[in-house]
């Protein structure tokens, strides 16, 4: 095996980790649970920058996030149809669907971040940054945006 390729520098092109420490991976589950696929994707993307992930891996976060948002809308659509006009059941199933997909999106996105997160814990030594502020903002703003989109879809399906 030729080692010329192996012994070429590759960390030069790596996005150097920012000075700010990343957020705890396990805390992001709350974003998925309370906000849904869109907020957890955005938080995951920002966290990937903090972890210094390569561009390719960060792209996967966007891919999973897009899948998650699409699934959310599908699941909400299904919930509307399945509840057959029962408003209370519709609300329950819509919320449940959004949360379930949010959590699944979190699972996928966290797997992308996991190796870099473990490396941070093993090598860096700094404590994690607090997710309270950005997490709350993401859940409220992006969660609302997602909910508005779901609501629009609901109305369209109901027509």
């Amino acid at each position: 095996m030729s080692t010329d390729d192996l012994l070429s520098p590759s960390l030069r092109d790596r996005q150097e980790a920012e000075a700010r420490p990343p957020w705890r991976l396990s805390s992001q589950v709350w974003i998925g649970l309370l906000g849904g696929a869109l907020p957890v994707t955005v938080i995951g993307w920002l966290n990937a920058e903090r972890l210094g992930l390569e561009r390719e891996r960060r792209t996967w976060i966007l891919v999973w996030g897009a899948v998650g948002v699409a699934l959310t809308l599908l699941a909400v659509g299904w919930a509307v149809v399945a509840s057959r006009g029962d408003a209370s059941a519709q609300r329950t199933w819509t919320r449940l669907a959004s949360r379930a997909v949010g959590l699944l999106t979190y699972l996928a996105i966290s797997r992308v971040q996991a190796p870099a997160d473990r490396a941070f814990r093993l090598f860096d030594g700094r404590p994690y940054a607090s997710l309270w502020g950005p997490g709350t903002a993401a859940v409220l703003l992006l969660g609302m945006l997602q909910a508005l989109g779901a609501m629009a879809l609901t109305r369209w399906v109901a027509q």
Binding site: M1, L6, P9, S10, L11, G52, L103, L107, A114, R118
Partner: protein, 289 residues
């Protein structure tokens, strides 16, 4: 006694002091030395002393001074790489390390060191290729075994990492680094009892390095956290799905009352999982035993 002999003695003395982890005394001995007699050794010892005293910037500068005189010195390149890595300057660390590797491309220890560095930078594929190359040269290399365990751990293959860790410790039970990695892996797997069995006795020999991990293993195996076993073993998301699924199914098949009771129980259990672990952690740390 010649002038050369006189200057050699401070270098030897500095080496003795570094052997017993006395960096300030080593630097004081080096202050009496003449750098020109053996500049590589002089600057290397200065860099090692500063590194031991946890001053990586000063160590990096000392190594740079030595490399200005001896640009191909492998020990100085390795020390400078280590300093850069300590400072989080991974690209600069890579440059120095590659300078050494180009002179010794078949040295398994150096290949593994580079593998560790790129793994730290998130390049697990390249790290695996470096590991394969190191094993090609020396299949029984201990550094290769360590790197393999590290890569399994970073990739999330905790079962393979744990097996690798046990093999490492079978060869050298007092390997603190091996104990730390195995303990971490077992904790990640949710195998807290096994982690405690491995780490706590080893912490008696190296409390400074393993104390934090041993304390964590003690906390996670505390009886107050036994109710949280499903969370530790499976993770929060599967547990949520399982609980919600159970509540829904019970509501359909049994009665809404039973379903409500289950829901409240799950909520109480969630509150328990938020409140008790941090309080327990604080209490264990404060108690110190």
């Amino acid at each position: 006694m010649s002038a050369g002999d006189l200057s050699a003695a401070p270098l030897e003395l500095a080496e003795r002091y570094l052997e017993i982890e006395r960096p300030e005394e080593a630097l004081a001995a080096l202050a009496r030395a003449t750098p020109d007699e053996d500049p590589e050794r002089y600057h290397l010892l200065r860099a090692e002393a500063h590194l031991l005293a946890e001053r990586p910037e000063a160590a990096r500068d000392a190594a740079a001074l030595g490399l200005a005189v001896e640009p191909e010195s492998i020990p100085l390149l390795l020390v400078r790489s280590c300093c850069h890595e300590r400072l989080g300057e991974l690209a600069a660390a890579e440059e120095s390390l590659l300078g050494a590797l180009r002179q010794l491309p078949d040295e398994p220890a150096l290949l593994c060191r580079y593998g560790r560095l790129v793994a730290r930078g998130g390049q697990l594929d390249k790290a695996r290729r470096l590991l394969a190359e190191a094993r090609r040269v020396d299949p029984d290399s201990r550094e290769a075994a360590r790197l393999a365990m590290l890569l399994d751990y970073l990739a999330g293959d905790d079962r393979a990492a744990a097996e690798g860790g046990r093999r490492l410790l079978a060869d050298d039970p007092e390997d603190s680094h091996g104990v730390a990695m195995l303990g971490l892996t077992l904790l990640e797997r949710g195998d807290h009892g096994a982690a405690r069995e491995v780490v706590v006795p080893a912490a008696a020999l190296d409390p400074e390095r393993l104390g934090g991990l041993a304390r964590e293993a003690r906390i996670r195996t505390h009886p107050l956290l036994w109710p949280l076993w499903p969370l530790q073993r499976f993770g929060s998301v599967p547990v949520w799905f399982g609980a919600v699924g159970l509540i829904l199914v019970t509501g359909r098949l049994a009665s809404p009352r039973v379903s409500s009771i289950l829901a409240l129980t799950y909520l109480a259990w969630c509150v328990y999982s938020w409140v008790v672990p941090p309080l327990l952690r604080r209490w264990v740390v404060r108690r110190g035993r």
